[in-house]
Subunit: 349 residues, 2 copies
Amino acid sequence: METIDKLNNYKEKINTKIKDFFDSEIEISKKKDGKITELIEHIKEFNLRGGKRIRAVLALVSYELFDGKDFNSILDIAVSVELMQSFFLIHDDIIDNDSFRRGGPTFHKIYENSNENLGQRESEGIAIVAGDILESLSKKMILQSCFNEQIKIKILEKFNEIIENTCYGEFLDILSSKQNPNEDDIIKIHEFKTAKYTIEGPLHLGAIAAGADENEMRILSDYAIPLGIAFQIKDDVLGFFGDEEKLGKSAGSDVKEGKKTLLIIKAIENSSQDDKEFINKCLGNKNVTKRDISKLREIVKKSGSLDYSEKLAEKLVSEAKKALEKSNIKKEGKIFLIDIADFMIKRDC
Amino acid sequence: METIDKLNNYKEKINTKIKDFFDSEIEISKKKDGKITELIEHIKEFNLRGGKRIRAVLALVSYELFDGKDFNSILDIAVSVELMQSFFLIHDDIIDNDSFRRGGPTFHKIYENSNENLGQRESEGIAIVAGDILESLSKKMILQSCFNEQIKIKILEKFNEIIENTCYGEFLDILSSKQNPNEDDIIKIHEFKTAKYTIEGPLHLGAIAAGADENEMRILSDYAIPLGIAFQIKDDVLGFFGDEEKLGKSAGSDVKEGKKTLLIIKAIENSSQDDKEFINKCLGNKNVTKRDISKLREIVKKSGSLDYSEKLAEKLVSEAKKALEKSNIKKEGKIFLIDIADFMIKRDC
């Protein structure tokens, strides 16, 4: 499939650029302190561990869609988005108290497990600081790019806005974990924390760099926001019903974390008193068994909640595709973005 | 004293600008979510609680020193430095597990004490995110200023570099708390975490905005780095020997935190075995008594360590002043910066 080849080709270029950037930062750090060099080596390793690079790819695709010609400069911007993503992951993993990420230890665990004699508190402190450094480096990447100053300023404004909105989403998410969010609350979190961040933001960055106009930016938003919300709904369904091996994480982990997904709140809304109580008993319970998860899955299906989530995700994806189809965006780009939308919703991991 | 009047006049303008900026952000947030508005109100309150505004003032002074004419725009940059300072304080207070800041609760404590039903973990999570938001807002302030794009890019590069270096200082500081730093290690932390951040960075920002040349930037560094290190040494001396009431914090708090200041490590180096053991017993001990602190003060004096710190600070300040005096920087600016240096080292709180 052409789209997959294109994705893999981009991914390779992105990874090479990340590596080169950190190698240069490592050289600079040697004049500062050996421990700082080690820190940047850890940050480099964390950034190169993998990830789908979907955000960077979207920035590249969008730039080409609007006839941008300076591939090397947009690659800098695309990579800056991946650095931002790692910055968020480092901070999120502290907040969620996670130990594993991208097949390795979370950033605070790297230092907790090192021979630096650090406790949990100090290791988390270092991870907070490492996230802050990475956030700065992501902007350095933009500042170093060869775009002219006018474009750089516009990119930085958008980049800043993305960070701000993603933080608001994370903030609402933390609050909701201790409250009783309704569907609107959850959709708003998906909009801020996923749709604006993962889809709209990168597309807008590419478009701004290529000089797209306001109308084109709006079309991208009309595509990105519903697709992003659908993407997150699908993610939550996969987290609950997906194949553990393919996902690389335990299917019950969202339940153990007490995550109030659309799937869960709709099931609570439409279940018998007994089933409701069972769901609430399992949520946030670290000792939930495989059998409990199986029973939960049955309850979620029976309540119609799985069906509801899947239908809503499909409806949103079709909305996203329609927004593209009726626009005057050029054909090749349309096909690619529609493929991406299908890929996001049909994936099984 | 003319310098003090000038400082107070600047301070008022800075506080008004901070207030106006957040009022506008609060309006914008109302379209997003009521909880986001509340969050920004808390961030505003935290920023307006006070602080000496020394960093903002230095940026303003430096701009005027190099004949910058657009006071309103440099005020935006000066305020962005104060927002950055609050961002660092919010993250530092999580790392240090502090409860009070600027006469009120630390940011994580605001949420822990609210009626949002949040535990320590979630409250710290919100404070991490609030710091990240503030970091973004500090850059928004720069992006919104009326300087032209070329200058804005240069300011953002410097601003980014300041954040990065301050983070390295904080990182080295966290590591050193669990190790045995020597004098060079401590001076390096002071250089990154205080001198570059509190003195050199703001001066450079003002100078860049006014179009200063490389030679002028170097003169500012030659003044700022020794002064900044002296400032931190003085701060540690005050934290240990200063008047509790004037300082607004317990004189033993650094000892209880286990902070390895120059004062402490020099005392350890030059004390009898018994005294060494006593110091090590007190460091990081939350139950240290007033009597212990009195005895510690005697040991530090007897060892010659207080004398050493004071002499070193004086030597560094005189180095800083000399760098200015022999430069061709204009007289009025010289007098003001020399007054600032004296003020920093002679202060008793």
